[in-house]
């Protein structure tokens, strides 16, 4: 939304993330993605008669870690509730979730745009709770029979639901905040947040606040948007929906509270939201405490132990990197946003190189460029920090100039071989100081006009010698040639 828009967009998000446990929330079945349908199931997650749930403590601990990182208050006592509704991918006819006593509440996560595209935004977290995922329904439209096939492999996978306050003020902020949330959860090892595999799902609630001539703020009816399968879709859907609500407001002047909350589905190819059937919104879930599970208590010791094992979250890691390696907040942001593995690589490299800024530049201009081009991961990157530090050290020493260094870097990436071997294979050899001096003497003898210009104070005239030097020996460092020539001329008298 531009500042000139006659309304404020109010956005709250509801995010579901699958936790990275090996097994499901209430049984021992695998949570691995992509298995043949209905092969990762047992009586409990199939909801067979007589089956009972047993809580997976690892899932609870992961959820605690997420809530702590989101600065939530952890309830010392929490319980499970049943959310009752009928659907074929919900085999028990109820979902085990948390209703009135979620294990955590009242947290916050700030998002800052390092380029200042928006003001830093601190987004309140109403609650984080744990629940089980449902299975997947696959509607077989093509067969023409309207059959639906059910895969229950996903049923019972631990799911964290994170509900924000309506604190976001633009689609762009919402997208940036989601990126920050995802980054945090991946850092914590809580979730892989893979939207393609459904490990992260977002619904958004949005409406407009429109100042009226009489000073009153008119609020449009809240719309919940579903079916967004990327953060980009979230942003697009919110942009579309804000515009749609603005048009609707101008036509109808309909305000919040006068119509029931509406649910709209995002149609990505069409780029529009569509109203979903009213029936799906008016459910009474008849929550009540789950009698098959016992309440969970959380002690201060348990919280402390989870905090200790949590690792540094991105928000403080950015500050740590900036001050420890004297790099700009922007640089720290770029590095941290790439994930923990890249930061580890950077710190290893910076330690070896001894200069954070230099290491950061190589990371951003070279390593990241290759990773982006090849869609690769830093774990699989062929040059390890020691090898790259070797190259950077020699560039810093003046053995090669930066562009020559880049050529060597590219060859190291392709061949996976160390600097020395690459240099040898490319016919590059380091040029000794004596060789540089000999070369420069030769050049000065052949270019009396340049020598005279430099003598008269036009040092920039020395640049004319560098192209010639490169022709005679491609391995020379141009800066060194320039400096040596000037020194020699000054020494001539």
């Amino acid at each position: 939304m531009s500042n000139s828009a006659p309304y404020t967009t109010i956005i709250g998000l509801e995010v579901h993330v699958q936790l990275m446990t090996r097994t499901k929330l209430f049984c021992g079945c695998s949570t691995k993605f992509g298995g043949a349908p209905n092969t990762q199931v047992c009586p409990t997650c199939l909801g067979l008669p007589g089956s009972l749930p047993v809580m997976n403590r690892q899932a609870f601990d992961l959820a605690l870690r997420a809530a702590l990182a989101l600065e939530c208050t952890i309830a010392p006592f929490t319980k499970w509730d049943r959310k009752n509704y009928f659907y074929p991918d919900l085999p028990k006819g109820y979902q085990i979730s948390q209703f009135d006593l979620p294990f955590s509440s009242d947290g916050t996560l700030e998002v800052v745009d390092p380029k200042g595209a928006f003001e830093p935004r601190r987004v309140g977290i109403i609650r984080v709770h744990l629940e089980e995922d449902a299975g997947k329904s696959m509607h077989d439209e093509a067969a023409g029979t309207g059959d639906t096939r059910i895969d229950l492999n996903r049923a019972g996978t631990p799911l964290c639901e994170i509900v924000t306050q309506p604190d976001l003020r633009s689609p762009q902020e919402a997208r940036a905040w989601l990126n920050e949330l995802k980054l945090l959860l991946v850092y914590l090892g809580v979730s892989d947040c893979n939207m393609q595999e459904g490990s992260l799902r977002v619904d958004a609630n949005v409406n407009l606040h429109i100042p009226q001539p009489d000073g009153r703020i008119a609020k449009t009816p809240i719309v919940e948007i579903k079916n967004m399968n990327s953060f980009r879709s979230v942003e697009r859907a919110l942009v579309y929906e804000a515009a749609r609500q603005w048009e609707d407001w101008q036509a109808t002047k309909a305000e919040m509270g006068k119509t029931p909350k509406q649910t709209r589905g995002w149609d990505d190819p069409a780029g529009i939201t569509r109203a979903q059937r009213h029936k799906e919104e008016s459910s009474d879930y008849r929550y009540f405490p789950e009698p098959d599970l016992v309440p969970v208590t959380v002690t201060a010791e348990q919280i402390a132990s989870i905090r200790n094992g949590m690792g540094e979250p991105p928000v403080s890691l950015r500050k740590t990197l900036a001050s420890k390696w004297t790099i700009s907040p922007y640089d720290a942001d770029v590095l941290v946003n790439q994930g923990r593995e890249l930061v580890d690589y950077f710190e290893d490299l910076a330690t070896r190189v001894g200069e954070g800024k230099v290491a950061s530049n190589w990371m951003q201009q070279d390593v990241l460029r290759i990773l982006n081009e090849t869609n690769g991961t830093v774990a699989a990157f062929p040059i390890r920090p020691a090898g790259l530090a070797d190259l950077i050290g020699r560039v810093m020493k003046g053995d090669f100039d930066t562009s020559r260094g880049r050529e060597i870097f590219a060859e190291m990436v392709t061949s996976g071989r160390p600097v020395d071997e690459v240099v040898a294979s490319m016919g590059i050899s380091a040029v000794s100081d004596d060789d540089v001096i000999a070369l420069c003497r030769e050049l000065l003898a052949a270019n009396p006009k340049i020598v005279a210009d430099v003598k008269s104070g036009k040092e920039q005239a020395a640049a004319g010698l560098i192209g010639q030097a490169k022709k005679k020996n491609p391995n020379v460092n141009p800066g060194k040639v320039r400096a040596t020539c000037i020194d020699l001329i000054r020494g001539m008298d």
Binding site: L46, L48, G50, V54, F86, R286, F288, L293, V294
Partner: protein
């Protein structure tokens, strides 16, 4: 003595000593079932081949000197609410007709490991909802003491099969009295253990916070024997108690001297049959003679037991039974006439073919009492009613539990009638659900409080119907319950009497 007349304790000893083989023993009970089940209808499934195969295997292992389980060769009947891999599990419902679970209930696995022999699955009220066994989709059970009368319920088949010598032991489940009340009406002994003492895994849930599995047999000593096998912690049931299991049979010999038994004066209110009252008084006298003392105690909130129970149980049931929707297993209604792809084409106002399938499958699969309780529970949990009904019932439940804990400060056990009348006529209460709900008057408190209770015969009416006596105990005081009941049975012979149709067991 014929095997079918022997107690479980004696049968296990005779089998161990080689006086009788498992095949002989099993055959005797199977023959008895064959001869009488057509009349009594206590069994929904009888596994003659499976039982005899298993018995032969046990005999072979015994002959080979291999180690055997504690109940080796003992025939056991299982209420059809317990999951079994080798027999269907129907809960006496059309909804689960022919359903075969892929796993054994924890109690079933424990009994199997103990080398018990399963003779069959017993009839019950559909999904354990009822007090007369008349809610079975597969016909009512007849009380062996009077074939025109109900055996009680919901474990009516389990009670009747023991009373009718069709099995020495049956496993029942008790949500509001479903073990104790039919035990009382059929003249046998039934124990409802403390909530959590026996794992509920594989017990098809009716009301999860109230359901508990227990033994039904001819005597407290037999119940003690079975408890040693079925009780114990199960990590697969989060509500199962991680407490060691005592040797119940070894604790029976302790004298009753000094044991304080509470008597609740309110139990003698209007509605208690005078013959039952007399039987109960005589039972107190026997216990006194054995050295116990009797004291009046108060359970001030007991009068709210029935309304509290009939909110909590249906609420949980409405959710527990949601899984029977025809989608994955169990009864599914045939699709309606023609395929209707568009909602506008739906008949009878169904919003989609899916909803139509749900509605019709459930309408066809469930009987009227199950539907009544699902509707009661659904209503009570609905937005706007939750606080007035379910939440309030939970608060009253806490008061009832506190009543029991307070009473157990001054007494060790609480005694009284198990039901207000002896066995009633089949059909007598079927048109009056409220009258039927009152058959649980004396039993629901035990479940709401989560404590244990035992029911055993303490006399007979002039017309020859058994009268039941109930003892209730603090959490995990099963040893005392069994000890007191066993002491009573050492001093009386009510539990040895057999229905006329079968002749009396000779002591």
């Amino acid at each position: 003595m014929q095997p079918i007349e022997m107690s479980a304790v004696d049968l296990v000893a005779a089998l161990r000593q080689g006086d009788i083989t498992a095949v002989q023993c099993t055959t005797a009970f199977l023959d008895r079932i064959e001869a009488t089940n057509g009349t009594i209808n206590a069994f929904l499934a009888v596994d003659r081949d499976g039982a005899l195969t298993r018995a032969a295997d046990i005999d072979a292992r015994r002959k080979a000197g291999k180690p055997l389980g504690a109940l080796a060769g003992l025939p056991v009947a299982l209420k059809d609410v317990l999951c079994t891999t080798d027999m269907p599990t129907t809960c006496a419902s059309k909804m689960l007709q022919g359903f075969r679970p892929p796993y054994d209930a924890d109690v079933v696995a424990r009994l199997r490991n103990a080398d018990a022999v399963f003779v069959g699955k017993t009839n019950m009220d559909e999904f354990a909802m009822g007090g007369s066994n008349e809610n079975s989709a597969f016909g009512p059970v007849r009380n062996p003491w009077d074939l025109s009368r109900a055996p009680g319920g919901s474990s009516g088949g389990s009670a009747a099969c023991v009373a009718g010598d069709m099995a020495p032991v049956a496993i029942g489940s008790d949500t509001g009295g479903s073990i104790r009340q039919p035990a009382g009406l059929c003249g046998i002994t039934g124990l409802k253990p403390t909530y959590g003492r026996v794992s509920r895994r594989g017990l098809v849930a009716f009301a999860s916070s109230l359901d508990q599995i227990g033994p039904m047999a001819r005597s407290a000593a037999d119940c003690a024997l079975i408890m040693e096998t079925i009780a114990g912690h199960d990590p697969g049931d989060s509500t199962s108690l991680a407490v060691d299991v005592p040797r119940y049979t070894d604790l029976l010999d302790k004298p009753l001297a000094g044991v304080r038994i509470g008597r609740v004066p309110e139990h003698y209110a209007e509605g208690l049959d005078p013959e039952v009252a007399k039987g109960v008084d005589e039972a107190f006298a026997v216990l006194k003679a054995a050295g116990a003392t009797v004291h009046d105690v108060k359970l001030p909130h007991a009068k709210y037991g029935i309304p509290t129970y009939y909110l909590i149980a249906p609420c949980e049931a409405s959710s527990n039974l949601a899984r029977y929707d025809g989608a994955h297993y169990g009864h599914r209604a045939e699709p309606g006439k023609g395929h209707r792809a568009e909602p506008s084409q739906q008949a009878d106002g169904f919003e989609s073919p899916l909803v139509e399938m749900y509605c019709r499958s459930r309408a066809e699969g469930f009987g009227p009492e199950v539907k009544r309780r699902i509707m009661l529970g659904t209503y009570a949990l609905s937005a706007g009613y939750y606080d007035a009904y379910y939440a309030k019932a939970l608060r009253v439940r806490r008061l009832i539990r506190q009543d029991y804990l307070d009473a157990f400060q001054s007494v060790d056990l609480i005694g009284g009638p198990v039901s207000a009348t002896p066995a009633f006529k089949l059909g007598e209460k079927t048109d009056d659900p409220l009258a039927m709900y009152l058959v649980d008057l004396y039993t629901v408190g035990t479940n709401l409080a989560g404590v244990g209770g035992i029911s055993f015969p303490c006399g007979f009416t002039k017309s020859g119907l058994p009268i039941g006596f109930q003892l209730q105990a603090p959490p995990l005081a099963e040893p005392l319950l069994l000890q007191a009941a066993d002491r009573f049975q050492r001093l009386t012979d009510w539990h040895r009497r057999r229905p006329k149709t079968t002749g009396e067991v000779k002591a």
